[in-house]
């Protein structure tokens, strides 16, 4: 008998049996086809990547400290980078509280490992970041969406679901997928209520620096650091291809997150950490981020103008995000974004249907449009194609 005749009966973990081909991944694949105007991906504009600064920083790091930069390193992260992160944050954070992660997506994975048992109740906004749902899923939580409006999570709806919830996950600034920002009043009320109810908050802030007219209100974590975990990222202000993010957690959970981090991948790439610390020296972000804001604001305006022009009379609605990368739109009554997508792709434009972003009941009419990856010219063309798709779909 040959070995090849024996079929090894792989037994998958229960969580793996539930894993399905990722909607996000399939979307990104569609968006990569040449000739398609894609509003689908959450990709920062590559025009904003400081390529020359990275080249200089790589050369300096390898010249001055190459062997240390290529060696194994501490799981907590590179000390000067932790110091730089602590200095960036708008509340009193010690460098020792900062854990450098392999992108802020890993922060979500670590939070899930440390806080979620199978069946644990986890609360999220309605809708919420799809990648967070995917990061939490392997720990098999019972995820519940909390009713939310244009100002963010409804505090009374949160209270009604708070019992035994392990945490509430919130993305208060220029949310993915809706682009909405939690108001000052809502933040104050939510933090106070969460503290009173004893429910931890997990605050995800990848887009907070990308404001257009004025900075968003103070983070939730700044208002009650002992009751919150804060996740940040370098992906939107420098570049996502380095996979660097960070988290700040109170002493009640920080040591466990560090241990989970070490078990997950030992440490974030030490070379990348040194390169980013080198790029950030001398206040580079303070000069660089305003250029990203200006570009993204212009592209948001181009998309708003194109929507006003092309969607006239189509019963399509959309919001006006104050920053970030995404705009949230709703199709005419009775239309489903998921069934519209293949027709749109056929015409040459892609978007993300809103449905996968909902933990519970979905809004089939919702869709997410990124205004940062496509150029202004592509935005004009793509929105016109989308309007034509809607018009034809309605006529069927």
């Amino acid at each position: 008998m040959k070995l090849n005749d024996l079929q090894t009966p792989w037994t998958l973990a229960r969580r793996a049996q539930k894993m399905n081909p990722s909607v996000l991944r399939e979307i990104l694949k569609v968006a990569e086809r040449p000739g398609i105007v894609s509003f689908a991906g959450g990709l920062p504009s590559p025009a904003t990547f400081p390529v020359a600064e990275f080249a200089d920083a790589c050369a300096r790091v390898l010249r001055d400290d190459g062997r240390a930069a290529l060696q194994y390193a501490a799981s907590e992260g590179y000390e000067p980078l932790r110091e730089a992160v602590a200095a960036l944050l708008p509340w009193n954070v010690e460098p020792g509280q900062v854990l450098i992660t392999t992108g802020s997506q890993q922060g979500l994975d670590l939070v899930a490992k440390v806080l979620i048992d199978a069946g644990s109740r986890v609360l999220v906004e309605t809708p919420t970041y799809l990648g967070a749902l995917q990061a939490f899923a392997p720990m098999e939580p019972a995820v519940e969406g909390v009713a939310s409006d244009a100002e963010g999570v409804d505090v009374e709806a949160f209270s009604a679901r708070a019992d035994a919830a392990r945490f509430l996950y919130v993305l208060p600034n220029f949310q993915n997928p809706t682009g909405r920002t939690m108001s000052e009043a809502r933040r104050a009320a939510l933090v106070e209520r969460a503290a009173a109810l004893g429910v931890p908050l997990v605050e995800d802030n990848p887009y907070g620096d990308l404001w257009f007219e004025a900075p968003p209100p103070l983070p939730l974590t700044a208002r009650n650091p002992q009751g919150c975990i804060y996740l940040g990222s370098f992906s939107k202000v420098l570049a996502p291809g380095l996979r660097l993010g960070y988290l700040v957690a109170p002493p009640a959970v920080a040591p466990k997150l560090l241990q989970a981090k070490q078990a997950a991948d030992l440490h974030a790439p030490s070379f990348n950490q040194r390169v980013v610390a080198e790029v950030m020296k001398d206040g580079f972000l303070q000069r660089h981020v305003p250029t990203i804001r200006a570009l993204y604001r212009a592209q948001r305006d181009a998309m708003l103008a194109a929507l006003s022009r092309e969607m006239a009379g189509l019963d399509v609605t959309w919001n006006v995000p104050d920053g970030g990368m995404f705009l949230w739109a709703r199709l005419p009554r009775g239309m489903d974004a998921r069934s519209l997508l293949p027709e749109a792709v056929e015409r040459g434009v892609a978007f993300v249907p809103g449905a996968p972003f909902f933990a519970g009941e979905t809004d089939p009419r919702a869709l997410r449009l990124s205004f940062v990856t496509a150029t202004a010219e592509q935005i004009d063309r793509g929105i016109a194609l989308l309007a034509a798709t809607i018009r034809e779909h309605r006529g069927r």
Copy 2:
């Protein structure tokens, strides 16, 4: 009432309650103290890092393809790097079967997520790689050590424990911690038995290229690819600070591992993947790896010579590894490596006690000595200090 007066009652997941400060981490901290000769860490010799080649590759990647290198990328990995990995492996592997991971430690995390339910039986060698135990732990397996000798896992002992085991984890080449290599006969017997019993094998091979006299026998996976997951790493042949590894898995599990990878950190750093693919062009590894082998062989020989000289008459035994980074020693009868360690550190030499590497019953006399991080001169001094520590300890 102030927010700060309210203590948020964080409820940890069951797995997190079991997480303890990592033995490995504490060891690495000790080893970092200046003036200490450390045989403790698993750090490759920084003298082997091709710093100039990395500097050239970073410059070329950022010049020729900077924006793509800094953008988000596919979770599977960078295609030319997957092709390079497939071409390196000594059996027929398609690039599409290769998943690039954030270090091979992440490969262990993904395997755990996809194959382990709480209480699942997982088999490991006796002793086994500590980092694997740490990576599996969050999924709460029941880990059992399989009796092993100088040739590797005892096949009969494996058979006796095979019932309902999710997999057997093995590190056949120059094992961490023992330095031992699984013999050809043992490999053939193990793979055949595992296939007959229907137990998958997870084969970890970070050190296989670091052979001293002759290459090790063919990997287990090459003998039955449908029944094995193979984990590899660039940490020991290029540099660990880039955090790049890879895995090859059969179709029964590969799509689930990919989905777990995406949820964990979206993708391994795209910049690093391109830099490593660039460095590997034109057969660089074929020129570079022999220099690592020569260095490590010389350092192993220095350690063997120092042990013969310094441990004479001390009832200390050790093995002679045919490659890799580690040597496994045993202290005199009645001595415990854990209680010796603080005394050794006091004298200026560090090692890793063997106990944490055992899933079940431990060998308190065992200790792991790395011969690659310290220089030959430091090895001489360190082994003399270790012998003096043992002599004094015995005299108490």
